[in-house]
């Protein structure tokens, strides 16, 4: 099972680093929650997130936004993700935590540390495949270097 979880993490990372946006929502359940949130808000119980999506449909809307509506400087992103730590297992739901660092490389520029934090995840099995029921990206980085366009 743990190997299967590792494969889920590795596939997710490969997908968002490759810019394979159409595949990104497929890692999630239909009524998933995806949240990108500053650590301050998370720790103080403040609900505001930088991005807060409440369904796979909202993730698909984000993909449309990345492709069609958000004007931005193109960049590569590269995730380095730690081995996930199992926090709890409860009736087929896996609660996991993993550290991440995302590097950004803009055209013609050196690579920089872009966003650093941890994933807080809830993984379930849907029709035989593991999916994220929720994925919270809680970031330490106190400043976003201008904008975050692509999913972390």
């Amino acid at each position: 099972m743990y190997t299967e979880l590792l494969q889920l993490y590795a596939e997710y990372t490969a997908t968002v680093d490759a810019g394979n946006w159409d595949r990104w929502p497929e890692f999630f359940t239909e009524d998933c929650v995806y949240k990108l949130q500053p650590r301050e808000n998370h720790e103080r119980g403040l609900p505001l997130a930088t991005l807060h999506f409440h369904s796979k449909g909202m993730l698909q809307d984000r993909v449309y936004g990345i492709r069609e509506t958000l004007f931005h400087d193109p960049y590569y992103q590269r995730h380095v993700v730690s081995l996930p730590r199992v926090l709890a297992v409860d009736r087929g739901r896996w609660f996991l935590e993993a550290n991440y660092a995302v590097f950004r490389t803009k055209l013609g520029e050196i690579s920089t540390v872009f966003n650093v934090g941890r994933y807080l995840d809830e993984v379930v099995r849907v029709d035989g495949a593991l999916k994220f029921a929720s994925r919270f990206c809680i970031y330490d980085s106190e400043m976003i270097p201008n904008a975050i366009i692509y999913p972390i």
Partner: protein, 402 residues
């Protein structure tokens, strides 16, 4: 006033003078919200220009804004973002200040007892009085805290002028505020570009597809552009257009997506609120440091924190009202996906500001064109106008003496 040379955004001496004349004198700067410090002793750090300050709730319930610089050796003694204190103590030599900023304690002030004698210490004529932290002049209105190093400054109400004040009061009418959270971004551009961005009704219907396609802000919107008598502050007031736009409104507008729809429409579940009194969006620019956003059900304070001629931090505080229903708070939070450093109609503002700054740095003597809607800076009622930016630069020239 319809040309701005690029050096206005890049020259370090100009930037220093701007800090002195706009941030450190003559102007009210945004500090924070009273709701961030509800109890006596609560404090939260903020900035005025590049200077670190502390907003604190005193024992008698008042609000003080103190400079975060110890009177002794200049240490920026408060490093926490926020908390609760009975007093402030500098870690270096433990000089202690009360919540009003008054100096209350100096270790070994009377010297050290050695062999029955007091040696060292402060001179006998040393006065504690008047040696406290620099205390700023404070204005609190509707739960919003402003401050200035300049104690000769006019009242906050006179500073805004009646028109802008009425739009300020529209949001902050005495209802208690509820903090929803923060977003922080560092934008590699001159701080004035963010003021200009929110004084520019020409770009939203072009740069931002969401605004055009969902009618939140587009060429056929009912719009008015208002200013204070000095033309430093402004209000961009809009009414959402519902329905498909007419052909000439979007012809040639490549960001308009006729077939765009949301798979999950909850992100745009707009419910009109009584206090809007008509407009669906009012974007207020309070010179020099604040933008107040009401765009449909989403509300935020956007604090401009300059960090040099070519970069500023942009700190967003989203809020709701204490008497909002849970549904309304959820709605405000979901609509927050439009705003902030990743937002559908805001992420790209930071991006284009960066592009402008890149252009400016290459050729300081070239000039920006600001001729949309003419050459003067009168109030207007259409989006094809840069009148608010021209007004701001008229004021800027007067204060800067250039």
């Amino acid at each position: 006033m319809h040309r701005v040379p690029y050096w206005v955004y890049t020259d370090p001496d100009t930037y220093r003078r701007e800090l002195d004349r706009f941030y450190y004198a003559g102007h009210w700067c945004y500090i924070g919200l009273e709701a961030e410090i509800p109890h006596p002793g609560d404090f939260r750090r903020s900035v005025v220009g590049e200077r670190s300050v502390i907003m604190v709730r005193t024992q008698d319930g008042g609000v003080r804004v103190l400079e975060n610089v110890c009177a002794h050796r200049g240490a920026q003694f408060c490093r926490e973002r926020q908390g609760n204190r009975k007093e402030f103590v500098c870690p270096y030599h433990q000089w202690a200040y009360d919540l009003e900023g008054k100096l209350r304690g100096i270790p070994y002030r009377r010297g050290i007892r050695q062999d029955g004698q007091l040696n060292g210490g402060m001179p006998a004529d040393f006065q504690m009085e008047g040696r406290g932290l620099t205390s700023l002049k404070v204005a609190v209105r509707g739960g919003v805290v402003f401050a200035s190093f300049d104690h000769s400054l006019e009242s906050f109400e006179d500073y805004l002028g009646p028109t802008i004040l009425s739009y300020f009061d529209r949001v902050f009418d005495g209802r208690k505020l509820k903090i929803l959270g923060y977003n922080r971004q560092r934008i590699p551009g001159n701080w004035k570009l963010m003021q200009e961005n929110i004084k520019d009704p020409y770009h939203p219907g072009l740069l931002h597809s969401w605004f055009v396609t969902f009618g939140l802000w587009r060429a056929d919107s009912k719009t008015s552009l208002k200013m204070d008598p000095h033309k430093r502050h402004a209000a961009m007031i809009g009414v959402r257009s519902v329905g498909k736009p007419a052909g000439d409104v979007v012809s040639g507008v490549t960001s308009y997506k006729a077939d765009m729809s949301l798979r999950d429409p909850r992100q745009l579940d707009i419910v009109p609120e009584e206090w809007w009194k008509g407009p669906t969006a009012v974007m207020l620019t309070l010179f020099p440091s604040l933008i107040i956003q009401q765009q449909v059900n989403s509300l935020s304070m956007r604090h401009i924190q300059p960090r040099g001629p070519g970069v500023f931090d942009f700190v967003w505080t989203h809020f709701a009202f204490e008497d909002d229903s849970d549904e309304m708070i959820q709605r405000r939070l979901l609509q927050a996906n439009l705003f902030g450093p990743s937002g559908y109609v805001s992420a790209d503002d930071g991006e284009v500001i960066e592009f402008s700054q890149m252009g400016f740095q290459e050729k300081p003597d070239q000039q920006c064109l600001l001729e949309m809607g003419g050459h003067d800076s009168e109030e207007a009622t259409n989006i094809a106008s840069e009148t608010l930016i021209r007004g701001m630069y008229q004021y800027w020239r007067r204060v800067m003496g250039v």
